[in-house]
Symmetry: C2
Amino acid sequence: MNDKERRSMPLFSIGIVIKLTELTARQIRYYEENNLIHPERTTGNQRLFSFNDVDKLLKIKSLLDRGLNIAGIKLLLEEEKDLPKAQGKSELSDKELRSILRNELNEAGRYGKASLRQGELSRFFRN
Amino acid sequence: MNDKERRSMPLFSIGIVIKLTELTARQIRYYEENNLIHPERTTGNQRLFSFNDVDKLLKIKSLLDRGLNIAGIKLLLEEEKDLPKAQGKSELSDKELRSILRNELNEAGRYGKASLRQGELSRFFRN
DNA sequence: TCTTTTATGTGAGGAAACCTAACATCAATT
DNA sequence: AATTGATGTTAGGTTTCCTCACATAAAAGA
């Protein structure tokens, strides 16, 4: 099992993810509804989240805090997904995407006590 | 949050642990009853396991497969726990402990498909 | 060999956690 | 003023988990 597989293993119930991210169940389900995340399901239809999912949720939270909306976040996440690959022609209006990408690239967020900081989750992994 | 804390974070429901270890719920609860593991609980009294717990369960499974009984495994686990510290006087009969430790030290186990191999869990961590 | 212990299976009854769907709300747009 | 976007809340139902009790087969002990 390599690192990529480990990061995408379905491991966490929504209750844990709520604690790790300090998002509400409603928020998490809404983001799934809007195709920002795609957690697996148990045979009984309950969500099972991977490290990647939690990581993405922390990123979503961070971007929401900085004023992005769901549509913008979706663009950003898709952009990131495509980065390793062809970066030439995106179907989506290039102006929008750029205007979103500007202003959003750096910045560290300060969070509450019990939750994970965005990026901290990577510490779970060797690579 | 350091590695030690990460490894002991309560993260997994028993359902996940069953899949990761290929133990039954009955077995896992029995090992807890015999103080081999001490998973946390939710406010609603449901077990939450850490990476350390899962790791320990994989080790328990491996040792059971090799013929040890619960008492022997408990001695072994306590031995390991004390290794970093004082290794001088153990309250428990030294002959027993040695006789158990002999024959049990090496060996790799070959497991089924979907479960983790003992030791593989450490790959989740940087350190 | 007979009895006890060990490790695990199984099932009942109940509680916790999760599910979807619907409606409410409030701020930001239009 | 009306719509949209993001989230809260509640209801009714399902899944997962809990403890406790009893069953059982194999191993250990007498």
